[in-house]
C-alpha cells in the first residue's frame, strides 16, 4: 500500500497530474519525485512510502548512532602464556603475543628488569669508620650505623620503611635521627674519599629545620573546619581593610589635590605663560576625573562622610570670605550665623550618628574656625594684589551652571533692552504711545499676536468659576476694548479673583472639617 493507493481511495489526484497533463501516468510523476529524494534510513519502507510527497514534520536524520559491527576477515593473532624471569630467583608467567612454539622456547628476563636499579650506598669497615668519624662524639656505635646502612641498602632509602623496621637494641630512634646520622656519615665518608666533589655540600641534612617544617605541617593539617572557616573570614576581612585603606589614601590624595588647586583669588601670573597654562589645564582635567570617581563611590565609608563634611565646610568658609570682601561688620555677623547653622546641621547629623562621631565633630569645630581665620588672613593679603577682576571671576565660579545661564540670559536681555531703549530715545512718551511702541524688557516669544488672545486662562474648573464671577460683576470675559491698559487691569482682576476663589475654597474646607469634628 503506497501513497498513490490512499490518494485513490480518497479520490485525490496527485498534483503532478493536473487535467492538462492527464495523459501522463500518475505513478511516473511520483516516481521521479521519489528518485530525487535522498535515501532515508531508520524508517520502514512501507511507512515511508505512506508519507508520499509530504515532508515529515520532524526531520529524520540519516545518521547511524551505533558503531559498525566488527567485520574483519583477519585471523586472530596467537597469544601464549609463557614463563619469564622476573628476578634471579623468581619466575613468573605472563601473556605474550606469538605462538607458543615461537615464544615459549626459552625463559627470558622481564622487560622491566632494567628498571630494577639500586642506589650505591657506601660501605666501609670499622677501621675506615673510625678514621673518618674521628672527632665526632656521636652516641652511635659502628654496629648501629652498620645496621642503618644495611637497612638503607635493603629498603632502597625508603625512609619511612627504614624507620619502621629500625630496631637496634630497642633504641628509640626517630626518622629524622636516622636521616641525620646517615647523611652525616655519608658526608664524612665522601670527604675522606673525594674531598673535591662539589656535591658533598648537598649531603647536608638540616635536622632542626626539618623538624620545624614537620611541626608546621602537622599544625596546618590538624586544623578543625571551624578554624579553617574563621581563617578564611579573617582573610576576607583583611582584604577589605586593605581596600578601605587604599581608598582612603586615594581620597586623601584627591583632597590634597583640591587644596593644591589654583585659587581664583590668587594672582594668575604663573598661568600666563603657555607652559603654566598647559599645566593648569592638565591639573584641571585630572581633577575632573578624580571628582567623578569620588561621586561614583558609595559613601558608606565613615571616612568619606567626614571628608564630605570637610568639603562642605570649606565651601561655606569660601562663601564667608566672599562676604568679607564687602562690609566687615556684616561679614562677621553672617559668619556667626553660618557657623550657627553649620553647627545645627552637624548636630542634626550627630543625633543620627553614634556618640563616637560626636567627639570627632567637636574636634572639627575649633579646627574649622581656625582654618577659616587663617584663610581669611590669606585672603585679605591677596585681595590687595588683585581686586575687581578676580571678584567677578570668583562670583562666576561659585554660581552653579543654572545660575550662570540665568545670569547670562539676564545680561543679554539687559543688553537687548538697552538697545531697544536707545532706539526709542528720540521719542517722547506721548509719541511712543501714539506709535504704540514700548520696550517691555521681558523675554517673550517673538512674533505677531492679537492682544486679546494673550489674556491668561486658568484650569477648566477655576476658569469656569472665574467666568461666573466676572458675570456677577457685570464684566465680560473678553474686555470690549482689549488695549494694553485694559488688558493689564483685566489680568490683575483675574489674579485677584483666583486668589479669592482659593481663599473661599480653604474656608469651605475648614468649615467642613470643623463640622466633622463637631459631629464627633
Amino acid at each position: 500500500m503506497s501513497s498513490s493507493d490512499i490518494f485513490d481511495v480518497l479520490n485525490i489526484r496527485p498534483k503532478s497530474s493536473s487535467p492538462d497533463t492527464g495523459t501522463h501516468p500518475p505513478s511516473s510523476g511520483s516516481l521521479a519525485v521519489k528518485q530525487n529524494k535522498p535515501q532515508v534510513t531508520g524508517i520502514q519502507r512501507e511507512l515511508y512510502s505512506l508519507l508520499g510527497d509530504n515532508t515529515p514534520s520532524v526531520p529524520i536524520k540519516s545518521s547511524n548512532k551505533f558503531k559498525d559491527s566488527l567485520n574483519s576477515s583477519a585471523k586472530p593473532s596467537p597469544w601464549s602464556f609463557v614463563e619469564f624471569e622476573a628476578n634471579s630467583h623468581v619466575k613468573l608467567r605472563h601473556w605474550v603475543k606469538g605462538s607458543k612454539e615461537l615464544v615459549g622456547a626459552s625463559v627470558e628476563p622481564s622487560s622491566f628488569a632494567k628498571f630494577n636499579q639500586h642506589l650505591s650506598i657506601p660501605s666501609f669497615d670499622e677501621e675506615e669508620y673510625e678514621q673518618f668519624m674521628s672527632g665526632n662524639n656521636s652516641e652511635w656505635s659502628y654496629e648501629e650505623v652498620r645496621y642503618l646502612f644495611d637497612l638503607c641498602r635493603n629498603y632502597d632509602m625508603k625512609w619511612f620503611v627504614i624507620a619502621d623496621r629500625f630496631d637496634y637494641n630497642s633504641s628509640n630512634r626517630k626518622l629524622d635521627d636516622l636521616k641525620d646520622m646517615f647523611y652525616t656519615v655519608c658526608q664524612r665518608y665522601f670527604l675522606l674519599r673525594d674531598p673535591e666533589n662539589p656535591l658533598i655540600s648537598q649531603l647536608n641534612f638540616p635536622k632542626e629545620k626539618e623538624l620545624e617544617r614537620k611541626e608546621h605541617l602537622e599544625r596546618l593539617l590538624s586544623r578543625t573546619a571551624a578554624e579553617i572557616a574563621e581563617e578564611e573570614a579573617l582573610i576576607i576581612e583583611s582584604r577589605k581593610f586593605e581596600m578601605a585603606a587604599k581608598k582612603t589614601l586615594q581620597e586623601r590624595e584627591a583632597l590634597l589635590q583640591l587644596l593644591d588647586h589654583p585659587h581664583s583669588d590668587k594672582p594668575i601670573s604663573q598661568f600666563l605663560t603657555s607652559q603654566g597654562m598647559s599645566q593648569l589645564y592638565a591639573n584641571l582635567l585630572n581633577d575632573k576625573n578624580r571628582k567623578r570617581k569620588l561621586d561614583s563611590s558609595t559613601p558608606e565609608n565613615p571616612w568619606m562622610k567626614q571628608q564630605q563634611q570637610f568639603a562642605q565646610q570649606r565651601q561655606q568658609i569660601q562663601h564667608q570670605q566672599q562676604f568679607k570682601q564687602g562690609q566687615l561688620m556684616q561679614q562677621q555677623q553672617q559668619q556667626h550665623q553660618q557657623q550657627l547653622i553649620q553647627q545645627q546641621k552637624l548636630q542634626q547629623q550627630q543625633k543620627l550618628q553614634q556618640s563616637q562621631e560626636n567627639q570627632q565633630n567637636k574636634e572639627n569645630q575649633p579646627k574649622q574656625q581656625k582654618s577659616s581665620n587663617s584663610q581669611s588672613e590669606e585672603n585679605s593679603s591677596k585681595d590687595q594684589q588683585s581686586e575687581d577682576t578676580t571678584e567677578i571671576k570668583t562670583e562666576g565660579q561659585r554660581l552653579n551652571k543654572k545660575q550662570k545661564i540665568e545670569l547670562q540670559n539676564a545680561l543679554r536681555r539687559k543688553q537687548d533692552s538697552e538697545y531697544a531703549e536707545q532706539l526709542l530715545e528720540k521719542f517722547t512718551p506721548e509719541e511712543r504711545k501714539s506709535l504704540g511702541v514700548i520696550a517691555h524688557g521681558e523675554k517673550l516669544a517673538p512674533g505677531v499676536y492679537l492682544r486679546s488672545s494673550k489674556i491668561s486662562t486658568y484650569k477648566p474648573a477655576v476658569q469656569n468659576k472665574i467666568v461666573a464671577t466676572l458675570q456677577e460683576l457685570g464684566l465680560s470675559v473678553r474686555p470690549a476694548m482689549p488695549s494694553l491698559a485694559v488688558v493689564n487691569e483685566h489680568e490683575k482682576l483675574l489674579r485677584k479673583i483666583a486668589t479669592l476663589l482659593e481663599i473661599k475654597k480653604q474656608v469651605d474646607k475648614f468649615a467642613a472639617e470643623k463640622q466633622i469634628v463637631n459631629q464627633d
Binding site: 531697544a420 526709542l424 511702541v437 520696550a439 523675554k443 517673538p446 512674533g447 460683576l473 470690549a480 487691569e489
Partner: protein, 220 residues
C-alpha cells in the same frame, strides 16, 4: 517664492496697532442684487480696519476671508484697502480671517474667526432687542458686530520697526462717536469698570480672610 531674508529682530520691544473687525448686515427686502441667489435674505459686509479709519495698508499686505463652503470661491483675498468684503446670504457662520503683513515684517499671518451676525441680539435679562454688540448707533435696519483688538508685533525686525515708526498708528479717537465707540473714553470706562470689580473682589477677599482667621482661632 523665495524665502524672505532673515533679518534681525529688536529684542524686548513691541509695537502695537489697534484694529477693529466685524460685520454689518441688513435685510435686503425687495432690492435684491441681480446676481444673488434667490434664497439670500441679507446683505452683509465684513471688514478689518483702523478704529479711526486710517490707512493700514503700510503694514497689512492682504486680508483673506474664508467663507462658508457653500459660497462659490469661498476663499476671498482682498489685496488692497479697504479690506472688506460684501456678500449676500441667509445664515450666520464663522468667517475665518487671515491678516497677512508686509513682507519686510517677516511675520506669519494672523489667524482668527469672526462670527457673522445677521440677526439682532435679544438681551436675556432685559429682553430688549439690540442691534449691535457695542453701544454704537446703527441705522434702523442694520445689525452690527464689531470687535476691537490690538495687533502686537513683539520684537519686530529692524526694517519693519522703521516702517511702523513712520506713522503714529496707535492713536485712538478721544471720545466715543456714534459710528465708532472704540476710543480713549471707552478705554478709560473699561478700566474704571474693572477697578470697581477689583474693589468688590478685594472686599470679598478681606471678608473671607477674616472668616478664615476666625475659624483658625476657634479651631485652635
Amino acid at each position: 517664492m523665495p524665502a524672505p531674508p532673515v533679518t534681525k529682530r529688536i529684542k524686548t520691544l513691541s509695537v502695537t496697532r489697534p484694529i477693529i473687525y466685524g460685520n454689518t448686515a441688513k435685510k435686503m427686502g425687495d432690492d435684491i442684487p441681480p446676481n444673488a441667489p434667490k434664497d439670500h435674505t441679507h446683505l452683509w459686509t465684513i471688514f478689518v480696519r483702523d478704529p479711526r479709519g486710517e490707512d493700514v495698508s503700510y503694514f497689512i499686505k492682504k486680508v483673506v476671508f474664508k467663507l462658508h463652503e457653500t459660497y462659490p470661491n469661498p476663499v476671498r483675498v482682498i489685496e488692497a484697502p479697504p479690506f472688506e468684503l460684501t456678500e449676500t446670504g441667509w445664515g450666520e457662520f464663522e468667517i475665518n480671517v487671515k491678516i497677512y503683513f508686509a513682507d519686510v515684517s517677516n511675520e506669519k499671518m494672523l489667524n482668527f474667526y469672526h462670527h457673522l451676525r445677521l440677526h439682532p441680539y435679544v438681551n436675556p435679562e432685559t429682553k430688549e432687542v439690540e442691534r449691535s454688540n457695542d453701544d454704537s448707533e446703527v441705522p434702523e435696519d442694520e445689525v452690527k458686530a464689531v470687535y476691537f483688538d490690538e495687533i502686537v508685533f513683539n520684537e519686530p525686525t529692524e526694517q519693519f520697526f522703521q516702517l511702523l515708526m513712520t506713522k503714529p498708528g496707535n492713536l485712538l479717537p478721544a471720545n466715543k462717536t456714534p459710528n465708532c465707540v472704540f476710543s480713549r473714553q471707552l478705554e478709560q470706562e473699561e478700566v474704571d469698570r474693572i477697578h470697581i470689580g477689583m474693589k468688590n473682589i478685594d472686599g470679598e477677599i478681606k471678608a473671607y480672610e477674616e472668616k478664615l482667621k476666625e475659624a483658625m482661632k476657634s479651631a485652635a
